[in-house]
Symmetry: C2
Subunit: 399 residues, 2 copies
Amino acid sequence: MTDVTRNVGIVGGGHTKWGTREASYKDLIQEAGKATFDDTPNVGPEDVEGLFVGSVQPERFAFQTHVAPMVAELLGIDVDSMIARTELACASGQAALRYAWLAIAAGQLDTALVLGVEKMNLPREYAPEAQASMANVMDREFDGVNGFNAPPYFAMIAQRHMHEYDTTREQLAQVAAKNKTHAASNAFAQFQSEVSVDEVIDSFELSPPLCLYDCSGVTDGAAGLILMSEEKAREVSDEAAWITGSGQACFSGNSINNLPSMSAWPQATTAAEQAYDQAGIDDPLEELDVAEVHDCFSISEIVEYEDLGWVEKGEGGKFIEDGRSELDGDIAVNPRGGLLGCGHPLGATGVSQALEVFNQFRGTVESDRQVPAPETGLIHNLSGSASVHSVMTLSRERP
Amino acid sequence: MTDVTRNVGIVGGGHTKWGTREASYKDLIQEAGKATFDDTPNVGPEDVEGLFVGSVQPERFAFQTHVAPMVAELLGIDVDSMIARTELACASGQAALRYAWLAIAAGQLDTALVLGVEKMNLPREYAPEAQASMANVMDREFDGVNGFNAPPYFAMIAQRHMHEYDTTREQLAQVAAKNKTHAASNAFAQFQSEVSVDEVIDSFELSPPLCLYDCSGVTDGAAGLILMSEEKAREVSDEAAWITGSGQACFSGNSINNLPSMSAWPQATTAAEQAYDQAGIDDPLEELDVAEVHDCFSISEIVEYEDLGWVEKGEGGKFIEDGRSELDGDIAVNPRGGLLGCGHPLGATGVSQALEVFNQFRGTVESDRQVPAPETGLIHNLSGSASVHSVMTLSRERP
């Protein structure tokens, strides 16, 4: 090793429009790459030393592997330090960001591109293959073959949480309405219509109690970030989102039939505590201003309020009901619109979440969804059966 | 960040038998995991804080993604620090090892399991899907559809190298004969028959000048490593392979039609120079004792002698002919048997290479292929169109 650990900042980033896109996997990569470099005028492809790609199933959605070098080619990057793709299902984007941060922190390189991408909407003739692929995210042999695609599984979590803690159908719908309303003013979001609580409850019942609007979308999209060491960052930008902490945890019982609880995610708590500890955050409810958490389904965000350590177990429903996760609440949660509003192109979500926190810090988001002067942020992803949780903390002030 | 960068050592590892196995993807994971913990009696699943999995196409070969948490479940590991899978095609195992090393070096954790795995031989009814998958490793839309699977592409490299540098058919065959002879005494190897130069040349002509024995196999297999920070390593073991350097490089023209040369791999030179620089290796030919390099085809190893900086460009053929890569030569190259002898379960190869260097250091390999008292080693992988090269250096002595 050639250096001590160092401060690392996000200094730029870019986004494709997310949705059902008339665009290939390669098109999305190029669009996000261009947006990222356009946003970071003092950094070009020639400055990038390391490339960290988050993408889940290009083997099935795009019939391609070895995708990180393809990103290098499409964006004109000669990597001379580190390159790979990272897969952790729905947390793949954050996992790529984590490795880029580590590589810079440990002194292996100074400038990295993180790019998350997924192309999920395929031509109709490929659709059965793509649909079957989503069962692969769970343990295919135990869970997938028994119909445990995501919606029925998270519906069971909702049922159990409602049973144990008197969480209400309305509280679930309030999460969806909040996030979809944020997304309505996010130009990059897949779903850009304001939605009321009643409209959520009246939407098509998919897997009770979850209706269509309680579920995130099937989305094509990509997003990119430029990360730099403190020394380099000072040369190119006055503004950055500094990475202050990181945590991950995975329960050894990943298959649904091995999980000890359907209503609690202790790995979220473990991951968050690690990140808070590294960041020096003693009271997250007091100190966090903005959080992008993994609302793959409306119930998820409620469990996360609790298991990320913001309120007592069982109090998550009341947290949304009391408006404490609104833009002007205790913590502004998912001002981007979350997965419910933006959609969820698997490998891109974590990257987009981090970019949102940076954009909130620098005040470049649409005014309707700007959090008032945020200084401290968090991103969170769960993956698979929610036996795995990933958390990072970000700060506007250099640590 | 909580620590300065630290020394990291490989303290144990294990291997499945490689070959056409009557074993599932999950079976291979469990077999390699058990072998790894059996080899490291003072470390159990409960000690593992981070899990780094290398695997390329489980989506196509095993119809599964989110595979790192599946490994955690199968081996009984509760990860409480870091987890993800890494994909860089044929270099995926080394990429996972690199991230584990970085995570420990940067102070995120003390004990990691690295596991590489690929199940490539499928039941006959799935074989077309598996075969098609190998074209995915190249750029499918440019190269794969034009028949540029690996054998014809590396045959072109051989033709060009023979044309430019008078490399001979016999020299290619000498590489294959050397490595297959090493593999003959490696209990884990897929191919365990000694093969002569004449037998290589007389084997089935696959893509001229490459014959069957010039090509690595289609292999099921897995391998694991335990990595520890210096502080922890001292507690559990007197022996380790210390990671001293690392380099990667990727040319922006990944598609074969964009490569500037068919006979030189400048990215191998860039990657090796980075690793040598970090490791303080001034004269690799003098200082390296053992090297596991990516002999996916016999021609590859000849190009690598040159582009890893051991001999002048064009002198690779003479290097094998003069016996300088034999066990008692200047550098013992592929004493494990290489990809030609061991087979090449994509995500497992880099992990197995690092384990071999450690086993050579501690003198636990079969005596027929033991290198005399090696102190310094190297592992090398190429991936895709060989536009990407990955190198790590290892030392028996703590840096």
